[in-house]
Assembly symmetry: C2
Homo-oligomer: 121 residues x 2
């Protein structure tokens, strides 16, 4: 196994309640939010992809990272956001989650931390 | 809240060990694998996005779904794959995971099930 192979990482799942609907509808600003979150952890964004479900509905999107991904699914009609931040290697995804908490400012949140990775390294 | 808003769902995180490296390098076949996994659950694929890290290295990719997403990150050099399947609404993501287990045939796997969703509906 090459020394630079690092398949171990931390996967964070975050449910945010009570987020202002105005923050949850705009693809352009949400892409910027994911890019800034990635930057907080020092991650490299390969590409971002979003879909808006139309009207007052939400968006689904992902930032593909060299170190895995950040996804976001929003429901402005119930002020709910589901996020996941998965980063392999030496990066700290809690920095990205901290940014997302500050930026989206939920009134309630539930965050789960799952260790991912290969047992062979 | 409209009757058709369903932000609740099941998020499955799956670590596969001991997968044949030949299955983990080809963007075209891996995209097809994610599309077939989505179909097993009856999910609607909005778009797929992949990045190949080059040479004998792996890929990172995502299928954006109308019902959330499926992501895959592969490390053929250590025969490791990290997957997540998140589906909101009435779909069953365990059907997609079952397909991925059959298709990628890991010698070992570890699967975690996390309930996601809003407390307000």
């Amino acid at each position: 196994v090459p020394a630079d192979v690092n398949a171990n990482g931390l996967h964070i799942l975050a449910d945010f309640q009570g987020v202002a609907p105005s923050l949850l509808k705009n693809v352009t600003t949400l892409e910027q939010t994911l890019r800034e979150a990635a930057a907080c952890s020092g991650a490299t964004v390969l590409s971002c992809h979003f879909h808006h479900f139309g009207g007052g509905l939400g968006v689904t999107g992902v930032a593909l990272l060299a170190e895995s991904h950040i996804s976001i699914h929003t429901w402005p009609e119930i002020e709910f956001v589901a996020l996941d931040v998965y980063m392999c290697g030496r990066l700290d995804p809690t920095l990205a989650i901290g940014y997302l908490l500050r930026k989206l400012a939920p009134t309630e949140h539930e965050i789960k931390y799952i260790v991912r990775g290969s047992k062979t390294i």
